[in-house]
């Protein structure tokens, strides 16, 4: 009981810190809040101030706008780790597929942003607020738009279900319990705490989400792909492809470290996947997909 009440107390503080972190979008990470507060004429600053002083809602109830700011910070970490592929055609294509897929979920009005990361590693990521990234390495191993739609649908579920927000809250809260002594903290302390929050996202992406979150994203993702009119077996086919690769392949290491094994993911889908058989004949859309892949291959030469 005692632990619970402690958590309850630290929650508003954590939220403020999360938002403070997100508010630094145009500031140097380590210059942080101090700089922002100096530029008090800036519209962003006003917004940040309001958020900091008025928000006492629970983390799960944060507004879409607040979630977006937090997510942008998380996305900024991912885009530095692996930059977007320099191919506007492919980026637009993936945004169209992704947005069409995202329209079939519970949060169609988020400003969904999709990107292919210029990295031969095989992976995909999501960040709060509607950011979804897929590596070039994974894209190049797919056969059809239905497979792409399945993977993007899986990632959108992490956003729909706020998996990352819940995980970072859970993880960072424990740190903060010992960190935060009171509400009135000095700027330098606040900066240290903000780094802690950004660190929370870095740590989360390194460790991966809860394995049950991944299974849930698979289970909902296949349905969302089917709702979008695609052959719903695109995602399971990608999982088969991943399972058929050499598990020691370096391009798979990060994804295998952060996700359940492909065989287990298929196993978990198996008992319920037959319910989508009525939609099995929906299009795979191979030609349009392959035409886009061809422009990447050409770039590589």
């Amino acid at each position: 009981m005692r632990a619970y009440s402690l958590l309850k107390q630290t929650r508003p503080v954590l939220l403020s810190l999360m938002l403070a972190t997100a508010g630094t979008a145009h500031a140097d990470l380590f210059g942080g809040l101090g700089k922002i507060l100096e530029n008090s004429g800036d519209a962003r600053t006003t917004k940040l101030g309001n958020i900091l002083t008025t928000t006492h809602k629970a983390f799960g109830e944060m507004s879409d706008e607040q979630e977006r700011e937090v997510g942008a910070q998380a996305a900024a970490v991912l885009l530095e780790a692996a930059p977007p592929l320099d191919n506007d055609g492919v980026q637009r294509y993936v945004n169209r597929v992704g947005n069409w897929v995202a329209l079939q979920g519970e949060r169609p009005n988020l400003q969904w942003r999709f990107a292919v990361l210029d990295d031969n590693d095989i992976n995909a990521f999501a960040a709060p607020g509607g950011y979804v990234f897929i590596t070039k390495g994974l894209l190049m191993r797919m056969q059809s738009e239905a497979e792409l739609a399945g993977v993007l649908a899986h990632e959108t579920v992490h956003v729909l279900r706020k998996h990352h927000l819940a995980a970072v809250q859970k993880g960072a809260r424990m740190d903060l319990a010992s960190l935060v002594a009171g509400e009135a903290v000095r700027d330098d302390q606040r900066r240290a705490q903000m780094e802690k929050i950004t660190g929370g996202f870095k740590e989360l992406y390194s460790r991966g989400l809860d394995k049950e979150d991944e299974h849930e994203a698979d289970r909902m993702g296949v349905v969302i792909a089917a709702r979008a009119g695609y052959d719903p077996y695109g995602l399971p086919a990608v999982l088969q492809m991943l399972g058929a690769m050499n598990p020691k392949d370096g391009a798979l290491a990060f994804m295998f470290k952060t996700h359940p094994a492909p065989a287990l993911r298929i196993e978990r889908l198996a008992p319920v996947l037959d319910r989508l058989e009525p939609y099995a004949a929906q299009p795979q859309v191979r030609d349009r997909f392959q035409a886009q892949l061809a422009t990447i291959t050409k770039d590589a030469k």
């Binding site: 900024a76 970490v77 947005n99 390194s206 058929a244 392949d249 198996a270 989508l276 939609y279 349009r288």
Partner: protein, 167 residues
Amino acid sequence: MKIFRMLRVLPLIAVLPVMAQPASVVRDTELMAQPFADAKPMAVLKARQQVDVGERRGGWYKAKSSDGKSGWLRLTSVLLNSTQGRGDSGLAATRQLLQSGRSGTTGVTAATGIRGLDSADVVNAKPNTEAVTRLDTLAADSSESRHFAGDEHLSAKRIDYLPAEEK
């Protein structure tokens, strides 16, 4: 002569996407005459039995059992065999070569040899907010996405989510 040799190879390339892949049956399952649940069962395959699978149609793979029976198997009833032992795809190594001079992260990547994007890249990344803002320029809006879907006759359906466990 060279041209003739090349021509002989071409049909093989065309067949590549549906080339048979070795797979293992994961649970006792029926080999069906058609890729449908109510199709005629051709044979019962036992768990761990080896098969060759080819084309996928929906949730089914075209399959041939080790004793020569052909039919269709549920995608969830088999696992494609892993190419264990055939070595690295080479992608990680290529990436290392191409990107060894990149900036923006610490020297960790360059120092650790052949591997892909990993925890260290994420942990060492200083948030690139400018890259996030640039995503807006390539985003798609809903009406654009609907047209794009319509071009390939993708039509939206109402479908319930799947239960966590089959009831």
